[in-house]
Symmetry: C2
Subunit: 427 residues, 2 copies
């Protein structure tokens, strides 16, 4: 799988790419952007710049021409893995070799002057629950006697989320109104959420997908993953506790979800594949339809996930965002291939541009918990901020920033860019 | 609201419309069809015929020209209620007055020779749970000690379903594979569902909708309902019992959902509005954001819902489909306007072409139960068929047919047409 596009010695004539924390030439993520002039179009992040793909179409393979001409990446996601690799190779070559600089440079835009949009029209958005430490932590708060249900180690638990309210980074999140009921109240009341939270998740953009009624085998699942992003599954914990039985979360989570706008491709992530951590002694083996030796051997990702918080006061005082947590994406009980195969195992059809969320990924210790309800122990342990403020849940004006970095011995690290949004008051 | 388009004495020069059980001139539902020649286009059902809308565009109002020219009804759903009324009025006039016959007749196609497609591109599909008798019956089977949860009478419970696997009538349903666990088994197994069921639901097609962060008040909710259909929310009960906690139904229901292809408009249903049945003594009043006097006075529908079953042997023996149940849509604890308002109450944005399901609508007695798991008491009481066969759950080759008829004193009844599909074996 590893080719010259991953060579850590490879540099670009786009100077800002060399040593860039997120977007060195080894990454080359895709997105949909607009500059001061022209409409939405496909681009590639390289250092601090964005390369306009339709503008350089004549230098790219024939098989990708239609895909890069669209105002969304759905058609690009539908490409075969082979065509995606050819595109990556062509882009890497022209951004590495300075002889292309003169022709290409006019089609680079400073990212800081561009707007990033949702990369695809999302057909369906499904959220999973594969962060086992999160499932245990949150299960303990909602069901103290029964944190991890008996199906958890057999079924990659998931549910359908709301596609219409997924937004890219930087779109403010309006605090939702909803029903909540205090444990000692006779009846619920309706009003702004008092327990607004973030959830740190990895997002998966689906590639070619399957026809209705035709499952995807575990060995084939990887071919249907086009790329990855960060996903903040904003959650109103007070609404969730009251509404979630018996049919699961609904208004507690469908008011807004934020994704990072750059799609880090499966090809870019290839060098960061690691073995799925072994299951704890005594846990059942996955059922045969979910088991594949190759998937166990290299189905997980060596990816560090971080969450930062910045309050309005912190920004006013010039205080940098404070890191709330840092943990590894390998704290997933199921691999991404397993959730894809499970999703399609009943014949449910996945389509290019569908979005899967892993569910909140928490580490086993508090410094790696992926939500405030975990970090603050359900609101009982406030988190001190550098300004003297503290937080149990999010307040208006708070900004949450998610980051991710993939690294491997002897490889150039790559990052996902930021997934950020600020909370605005309820209407 | 009642105008000449509802006059029971009104007849059409399309002879088959007069006295038609579903599509007299008082109905005029919209759909997307294709005939032997030409692509997918918008049409109106009139008797046994379909009127090709783009072909008669020059006789329709300017404001609907764009809407009727599309290969889906999403743009038509986005029209204001006023524009939809103008379109209805124009169609009713030209189909009533035989002077139009010579010009219009060439654009009528026999429905039996046409294919009906999904009427819209579904952005999001949400399923509710407002049939209180169903909620009680099924709750008793999944949670004997606790059939109706404490939130039920405050929260119009709903969850997100799968948009990609919604299909129009007549597309066969492939029996899904999945995980099920017998109560006395140590571990689950994977295989074809043994408890495949139908669910009788009313479907709601969303009209204009709202922007993210901007709720829809209960008084305005009706303007965002474009029309209605029948919805069969096929369910694998064995998978559902094992997977549904804590995040709700997932693979048990997302493998296929069937809708009737004709959209019966909110305007056509206006004469069949009735008062919402009063809540039982002692039940709480809806919270203020869900309460509107007008909605209580005429927010329900006088609509009879029926389910028929036809086994392969019944069809081979020439035996007519057997009626399994007949009940009223007014067995809904919440009105359609209440579910629309609740859905958007947290700012979640609804869009033209979104599909809402009411959840299974059962009457209070067995002859009106809306699913086999209720009729067969969880598989304990087999249902005898006229061929000597019996059913607890659906078998391969079974065909399920849903029908609906709206009626009111002094009005012409209208129907929804059929929602039907046959079960095919698991792969």
């Amino acid at each position: 799988m590893i080719d010259e596009t991953h060579d850590p010695a490879r540099t670009s004539w786009v100077e800002s790419a060399n040593g860039h924390a997120d977007f060195p030439i080894q990454n080359l993520p895709f997105g949909i952007f607009s500059a001061r002039e022209g409409g939405r179009r496909a681009g590639v992040a390289i250092g601090d710049m964005i390369l306009d793909l339709p503008a350089i179409a004549d230098r790219l393979p024939d098989t990708v021409q239609d895909a890069i001409a669209q105002p969304t990446l759905n058609t690009l996601f539908a490409l075969s893995a082979e065509d995606r690799r050819l595109l990556r190779k062509a882009l890497s070559a022209m951004l590495a070799d300075e002889r292309h600089g003169k022709a290409i440079a006019p089609h680079l835009y400073p990212a800081a002057e561009c707007t990033l949009h949702l990369p695809a029209t999302i057909g369906d958005y499904t959220d999973f629950f594969v962060g086992i430490h999160h499932a245990t932590n949150i299960g303990r708060q909602f069901r103290p006697e029964n944190p991890l249900l008996p199906n958890y180690k057999y079924v990659p638990i998931g549910y359908h989320g709301r596609a219409s309210s997924v937004r890219p980074s930087n779109v403010p999140v309006v605090r939702p109104n909803g029903q909540r009921k205090a444990p000692d109240a006779d009846a619920p009341e309706f009003g702004p959420s008092r327990r607004l939270d973030y959830e740190l998740e990895l997002g998966v953009w689906i590639g070619p997908g399957n026809a209705l009624g035709q499952p995807i085998s575990i060995g084939e699942a990887g071919r249907h993953v086009a790329g990855f992003c960060l996903l903040n599954d904003w959650s109103a914990r007070d609404f969730q506790a009251w509404e979630y039985q018996p049919l699961g979360p609904f208004l507690a989570k469908n008011f807004h979800s934020t994704v990072s706008p750059w799609v880090v491709t499966a090809e870019a992530m290839a060098p960061f594949r690691i073995a799925q951590p072994p299951r704890p002694e005594g846990d059942p083996a996955p059922l045969p339809y979910l088991f594949d030796e190759g998937d166990q051997a290299e189905g997980a990702l060596n990816l560090r996930l971080e969450v930062f918080l910045s309050s309005e006061k912190m920004r006013a005082d010039g205080v940098a965002p404070m890191r709330l947590s840092s943990g590894l994406a390998s704290n997933m009980y199921w691999t991404i291939q397993q959730i894809v195969t499970h999703h399609a195992s009943n014949g449910c059809n996945l389509s290019p541009g569908d979005l899967l969320g892993t569910g909140t990924i928490s580490a086993s210790t508090k410094d790696g918990f992926g939500s405030l309800i975990e970090i603050s122990a359900g609101g009982k342990e406030p988190v001190p901020l550098p300004t003297g403020e503290s937080r149990t849940f999010l307040e208006d004006g708070d900004e949450v920033i998610l980051r991710a970095t993939a690294s491997a011995e002897g490889r150039a690290s790559i990052g996902f860019g930021e997934c950020r949004a600020v909370i605005t008051p309820a209407p």
